[in-house]
Amino acid sequence: MSNTTDKTYIRSHEPIFWGLFGAGGMLTAFLTPVMILITGILIPLGLMDSGNLSYEKVYQFSTSWYGAAIVLVLVALPLWHTLHRIYHALHDIGIKRGRDLQQVFCYGFAFAVSVFVFTLLLQMF
């Protein structure tokens, strides 16, 4: 029989999520530590002048086209990395049921927060 080669291959969606995972991982590795240091530690403790993140300054930045893009990437991209890891960690701790649904929840969560931030930035623009 020669029709053994007629198998139809279904394209995987993995490359898209893997790409976002890699990009998010890069960003998290290089920028997240300093971001946590500034917004979560130095400014709240008063070790850095809180005027550096004043409402006017942040608002002006976030309503410029490049600032909005930077804010969206800084806030949303790490989520595509972390939720991918959490999805695979669910397997590691032995949660076997509903893998498809787990995937929908994990990537869906990252997607929902991305849309949330995107919409807010658009609304302020």
């Binding site: 998290t28 590795a29 290089f30 300093v34 946590i36 917004t39 979560g40 949303a76 931030v117």
Partner: protein, 129 residues
């Protein structure tokens, strides 16, 4: 209806605590949880920003809560652990060849750390401008 009952190997919940390598692996994966929380905190900040100055200032004030600072310290430690593991994997992700010779792993890793330090200093300076 099949009567087949395949053997399923039991997986104890603490399998990753019995071997240091697996424990480190799970700490790396676990760093995702706090980094997710941090991203959500920032997303909430964008939401408060959109509501006006009073709301944004309230968000900034909430970050001064001792609980928030402790959480950010833990998140910082885990984020740095992610950075270390990410950089140590970098030579496996990028095989760089120069004049027919493969660039040594430690050169690639050192390069990443140099960029990391430069980016961190750059961010600390640019925020004050």
């Amino acid at each position: 209806m099949t009567k087949r009952k395949p053997y399923e190997q039991p997986l104890p919940m603490d399998w990753w605590l019995k071997n240091a390598f697996y424990t480190k692996y799970m700490i790396r994966e676990g760093s995702s949880i706090l980094i997710t929380l941090y991203s959500l905190t920032l997303a909430w900040g964008v939401f408060r920003l959109s509501q006006g100055e009073a709301a944004f200032d309230a968000w900034m004030a909430a970050l001064q809560n001792p609980f928030s600072i402790i959480l950010h310290l833990i998140a910082l430690a885990l984020a740095l652990y992610h950075t270390i593991t990410w950089f140590s994997l970098a030579p496996k992700a990028m095989a760089l060849w120069i004049k027919g010779k493969r660039l040594q792993d430690k050169v690639i890793i050192a390069g990443h750390y140099c960029v990391f330090v430069a980016v961190t200093i750059f961010c600390l300076i640019i925020i004050t401008l």
